[in-house]
């Protein structure tokens, strides 16, 4: 019985992914990041435009800040009128503290990597290592939200890690490929999920029309 209660409690968390909107928006963000990363790499080869590469990190931050509001607006327009409104809880202080601790440990690890490793090794490992970290993040999201498709995202990341290590491309191109591929996969899944959701859930009161 308590297991059934656990699954009932989990349903609002699963509702976040029911419409495919988070996957669609994050996919678009990753595609933009991949494009900006490739653009930054291309610009850095030409000394005339190299100073403008400073704008790339700013654009990355701006696009990431726009993601959550975009998801909420799309849900307000498409999801809530069809299957109801939910206000999800903000993470507890303890969980936010844990996330901050993890981010701190990861940044220390990256700093150590940069300090101790040779530049060539770092360039070769950075993108595959990032892909593996993303795979872990997807697995955690699968566990937390019972979102089965996150397992496939994790497997895609592992595959990309192997490919990027073997391909031995430049750092910028590796990240551009990683983000672009993840972005396209996520967007396509999100679109398919959204299409299926909209077909299965007409706006109440519109069925008779």
């Amino acid at each position: 019985m308590t297991t059934d209660l656990d699954s009932i409690e989990a349903r609002p968390r699963q509702y976040w992914n029911a419409d495919g909107i988070p996957e669609l928006v994050m996919g678009a963000v990753w595609i933009v990041w991949g494009g900006l990363t490739w653009l930054g790499e291309w610009m850095s080869r030409d000394h005339r435009v190299e100073p403008y590469t400073m704008i790339i990190p700013l654009l990355l931050v701006v696009t990431s800040l726009l993601a959550n509001p975009a998801i909420k607006r799309l849900k307000a327009k498409l999801t809530f009128p069809r299957t109801g409104y939910v206000q999800w809880k903000k993470p507890e202080k303890r969980r936010r503290g844990l996330a901050a601790a993890v981010a701190f440990v990861v940044s220390i690890a990256i700093s150590l990597m940069v300090t101790l490793m040779k530049t060539e090794s770092l360039e070769r490992l950075a993108a595959p290592a990032t892909a593996l970290v993303l795979a872990l993040a997807f697995l955690f999201a699968w566990y937390r939200n019972a979102a089965q498709h996150m397992v496939w995202s994790a497997l895609l990341c592992v595959g990309l890690a192997g490919f990027l290590y073997a391909a031995d491309l430049s750092l910028g191109l590796c990240f551009a490929l990683l983000l672009g591929t993840l972005g396209i996969a996520s967007s396509l899944f999100g679109l398919a999920q959204l299409r299926s959701y909209l077909r299965s859930n007409p706006v109440p009161g519109s069925e008779a029309a």
């Binding site: 308590t2 209660l5 409690e9 989990a10 509702y15 809530f80 109801g84 409104y85 939910v86 206000q87």
Partner: protein, 102 residues
């Protein structure tokens, strides 16, 4: 009274009813939800859902806010502090009862 029966009878009757248990469990992990979401997730009819929410509101386990989204009426439901505490207490007692009975 038989000790097992006593444990069962100590469970909060307001929450122990299956429909209300589902509603409280759904609300336990979120800030608030509207009537439509609760109706779809619980599978209750509108009348049934209203009736159960009213009982929970009378017991001060939920707060019901009637507002508008644009021109459309919107009923928002959220678990109160006492409601959350009562649910956690209910889960603990039920867990103990099932563990002892196993």
């Amino acid at each position: 009274m038989n000790p097992d029966l006593k444990q069962l009878s100590d469970l909060d009757r307001l929450i122990h009813e299956p429909a209300r248990l589902v509603l409280v469990a759904l609300l336990s992990g979120i800030e608030e939800a509207d009537f439509l979401y609760l109706q779809r997730e619980s599978g209750l009819t509108k009348g049934n859902l209203s009736s159960h929410l009213m009982k929970l509101e009378e017991g001060r386990y939920v707060e019901i806010e009637k507002t508008f989204r644009g021109k459309l009426p919107l009923t928002l439901v959220r678990l109160t502090k006492s409601g959350r505490k009562a649910y956690l207490d209910y889960r603990k007692r039920l867990g103990n009862f099932l563990a002892n009975g196993a």
